[in-house]
Amino acid sequence: MTWAVFAMMTLAVVLALARSLSERREGFGVDDSDVAFYRGLLAEANDDVRCGLVAPEDAMSTRAEIGRRLLASLDSASGNLLRVSRRRRPRRASAVLAIVLVLPLVALASYLKVGAPSQPDMPTASRRAGGNFTPAAAISEVETRLAADPDDGRGFQAIAPIYLRMGRFQDAARAYRAALRLLGENAQERAALGQALTMAADGVVTAEARAAIDQALADDPKQPVARYFHAAAIEQDGDKDRARQLWEALEADTPAGAPWMDAVREHLDGLSGATQSNVEPRHSSQTRDDIAALSPEQRSDAIRGMVEGLAEKLSKDGLNLQGWLQLIRSYVFLGERQKAEAAAASARAHLAGDAQALARIDELVGQLGLKG
């Protein structure tokens, strides 16, 4: 279909151009336009006299000068007229050839170099299956709340990961900093700050990012994001043996199916094979790459599942306390309080044996003013 439209467009252009070649006229005559121009000048001179703007005797000399210029112009034009070349046929034929062959070939070649002919349009409206969750709406909602209360640390906590997923790394880093300042230290968010800073620097673990990661590790030596970027930093420094140890340790501690597993393996492969100089922040782009593999319908589901994906993961592996807390917070900030309450209930069910975890859930439910 697309190709048929391309072919029709090309055909229309070829016809439009070729049509003028069928014209038999040849040679440039003495241009009427020049004569008309100087006649116009003469008419103006007459007008000026009639309106009384110019004295008649001045107009005489003006007319004489215009006449001289007209003659000079005709002279130079007739000089050109003499050399009319005779062989029209081969010239026209090669012009037609250029239009019929060169034009489509150039168009096609340059399009194929840059185009993506098989890709459909993707207006956002067509990409939302069911639900009406859009990050923009979520962001503007949270930003409105933050405008009302700039010291609402939980708002920053909710918006930071969304910024991070959208690729707005600077904004994400700012939001994580604000959340840490307002809500106190938290290894997971400190590590995420390091991640945002690294990604803002195109995957280079900067000194600032390194400081955040080190602090996160000091608080929680098991924090996987912090460990990931710590290993990346060491590898970036060129200490390959130490980096390999760190990657291997992280691999060993990573539960099967964890999203960052592939990225860790890739780093290990890179170290054993060719040297890898730059750190590709695989951990976060992983979600995007997964989405890439899906069909459009599944893709919209996956997008909507930015929050709900977390819910699904938790329904399978319900022992992740941080995950549950994040999910409850996210629902509240998206205005879906019922889902938040339901999530709190399932969290309690999953973590029934862990008194400390239950206390944290109750604390959060109290803070957010949820029922239950």
Partner: protein
């Protein structure tokens, strides 16, 4: 599919541009008018293809198709529709597409309306347009593709910066581009004349409307950009001698010179070679302006290297077009016949002096803009050339131009009478002198330069109409005759008078900055601050919620002699999520002057820092610019300059027939 067909239309336009740049030239070289006339359908097809491509890109922005990299990087689903559309040209890729679309629009206009033009000139001109189009389309498709796709498509776009969402910023670039690209048509005419070796007064007449159109849009674009900077940046300034601003001022100066030299060429067939040179220079400066702003070379020379493909391409385009056309000029110009010596005292020689002065202004701005860049590239030192340099160098030049303007207008073509002209402008000169003296007397101790500037401005405004008045007024003539003369006067004479007076008005606004009052103070509530004739009192501060910001508004009453004349609420907005603070200046227009208040830090004791200005006559600057543009439009409406000129000429001829005397059109 709309997106990809738009993309293909762009590629097809590239192929058409390739043929358009070769076949018509071959046709005119081999005297085959049928082959040469292919330029016409080619130009029109190109316009249709690029129009479609631009529509497709706009569609992608409106429906938020984030599979396009440019859309994802510059749009957002929740952005208001107006700014989604403005976002099409709010970035490098889209703005380049807009550039070629405007180019193609002008090209198609020449193709459709150019029936009266010599067909050889038209074919060559369109071929040169084809070269420009070809270069830009290659640049767009291979280094700055607005239709580049990314998969997977992000779910949401990135740009949310509310500062750029401003109506002024939505309109300003297209206006400026219309000005820049308008000069490309003039350039094409110039190169076509060099190729064919024919250059006469008729050429100047075909070119003048295009010079005028480019000049009008540039004038409006510059004024608009300046007003935008004035009201958003919160510093109370309207011109910063910033390289971006200079980049638009240079083609304006060169274009103004071109406008005047083309008039000389049309009337007297003199200054031909110089006019060609100016046409080439104006377009070169427009190219430079386009790229200076868009390439990022201004922030740092080194950012040029961040995207080498783009940087090299830009350099190649600049070198080929500027260097190539100048080389062609050097080769061909000596063979063009020069005619029309002129007397030292005549309107044409006054216009030649004006050209020299404008060219000097332009060279000064160019030096001040490029010297720091060159120095940084060569030695790594960063220096900035600022207002003092430009004020010192351009001030005297401008004063000289203004002094000569009414004089030149009062001189006759061919052989003028300096004494007579001087007599005619005496009234204006006296008016200016009286105004300056009065001001010095009334505003005792005011800066001398301001009084001089204002005197010059009055002289210029009065002097602008001296010529028109002397051509209309006659002793012992009934008013009816004078009215008939006024109507019969060529519109271009009126246009010149209006545009010159507009410059006078703008100059008045500039001169009046000398009497401006500026107060930077920590203001307590209820405390009156003296601002020239007015007092500003901040009565209370209140907070308010916006969609994604919170703002503090300072309710301020402006009073004069104890009576309140206006209230204004300057504001300071804080966007907590992005942690940006923006000041929204409070502006009240009183007469032609403005009170301008912008807020700073708020203190614990309830006081607030504020910059407060009284700017007498400041609006005259922009009103003057709009009047200048209006003068251009009046001039454009002159029947001699209408684009479909040959058909008109036939009617004029009929009208001039003595057998059927009719009033002039």
């Amino acid at each position: 599919m709309i997106v990809e067909t738009g993309h293909y239309a762009l590629a097809l336009a590239l192929a058409v541009a390739l043929l358009q740049s070769i076949l018509p030239l071959w046709g005119t070289r081999s005297r085959d008018s049928g082959l040469a006339s292919i330029a016409v359908p080619a130009a029109i097809t190109q316009f249709l293809l690029l129009g479609y491509a631009f529509t497709a890109l706009t569609y992608a922005h409106v429906v938020s198709d984030f599979s396009l990299v440019t859309v994802a990087e510059n749009s957002l689903t929740t952005k208001p529709l107006v700014y989604k559309i403005a976002g099409v040209w709010g970035n490098h890729e889209g703005s380049m597409l807009l550039w070629v679309l405007i180019l193609a629009t002008f090209g198609a206009t020449v193709a459709i309306l150019g029936h009266g033009m010599a067909s050889e000139l038209r074919a060559n001109t369109l071929a040169v347009q084809g070269w420009i189009s070809l270069a830009f389309l290659c640049f767009i498709l291979f280094t700055s593709d607005p239709f580049m796709r990314r998969f997977p498509a992000p779910i949401e776009g990135q740009d949310l910066n509310p500062l750029l969402q401003d109506p002024g910023l939505a309109i300003h670039p297209p206006l400026l581009y219309l000005g820049y690209v308008g000069s490309s048509i003039v350039f094409s005419f110039a190169v076509a004349a060099l190729i064919s070796g024919r250059l006469d007064a008729a050429w100047a007449r075909y070119v003048r409307p295009w010079v005028l159109i480019a000049w009008i849009f540039l004038t409006l674009g510059i004024a608009m950009g300046s007003y935008w900077a004035y009201y958003t940046l919160g510093w109370g300034g309207f011109w910063f001698w910033d390289p971006v601003e200079n980049a638009s001022l240079m083609p304006w100066l060169a274009g103004t010179a071109l406008l005047h030299s083309a008039a000389v060429m049309e009337k007297r067939e003199a200054l031909k070679i110089w006019t060609l040179f100016l046409a080439i220079v104006t377009f070169s400066l427009s190219l430079l302006g386009t790229f200076l702003v868009r390439s990022g070379v201004l922030t740092s020379v080194h950012s040029f290297a961040s995207d080498p493909a783009r940087g090299v391409f830009i350099l190649v385009i600049l070198t080929v077009f500027i260097g190539g056309s100048l080389a062609l000029y050097a080769w061909r110009a000596p063979s063009l016949s020069q005619r029309g010596l002129f007397a030292p005292v005549s309107r044409e020689s006054a216009l030649a002096v004006n050209n020299v002065l404008l060219a000097a202004c332009c060279a000064t701005v160019l030096t001040g803009t490029l010297y720091p860049l060159a120095l940084e590239a060569l030695t790594g030192h960063k220096i900035s050339v600022g207002a003092p340099f430009f004020n010192l160098t351009l001030g005297p030049l401008l004063a000289l131009i203004v002094l000569l303007m009414p004089l030149g207008q009062s001189l006759a073509w061919k052989r003028g009478d300096l004494l007579g002209a001087a007599q005619r402008v005496t009234v204006a000169a006296l008016g200016g002198l009286v105004a300056a003296l009065l001001l010095v007397a009334v505003v005792r101790g005011g800066p001398v330069l301001a009084a001089v500037g204002l005197g010059l401005a009055v002289y210029l405004i009065v002097g602008s109409f001296t010529d028109v008045a002397s051509r209309i007024w006659a002793r012992r003539q009934p008013a009816r005759v004078m009215l008939a003369r006024a109507v019969g006067l060529p519109r271009s004479a009126w246009g010149a008078a209006i545009a010159h007076a507009g410059l006078g008005l703008a100059l008045m606004g500039l001169a009046a900055t000398g009497w401006g009052v500026e107060r930077i103070a920590t203001v307590k509530l209820g405390q009156a601050i003296n601002l020239g004739p007015y007092q500003a009192t901040v009565e209370n501060l209140r907070s308010q919620q916006g969609p994604n910001y919170s703002e503090v508004l300072a309710h301020t009453v402006i009073s004069r002699g104890g009576a309140a004349v206006a209230t204004v609420e300057p504001a300071k907005r804080t966007f907590p999520a992005r942690q940006i603070t923006v000041t929204e200046a409070g502006i009240v227009t009183l007469g032609f002057g403005q009170i301008y208040i912008s807020l700073g830090e708020q203190h614990a004791d309830g006081s607030i820092d504020a910059r407060m200005f009284w700017k007498p006559l400041v609006t005259a600057i922009w009103i003057g610019a709009v009047i200048m543009a209006f003068g251009g439009i009046v001039s454009l409406s002159d029947r001699r300059l209408r684009i479909g000129f040959a058909r008109r000429a036939a009617r004029v001829r009929a009208a001039a027939n003595p057998a059927a005397p009719q009033p002039a059109e």
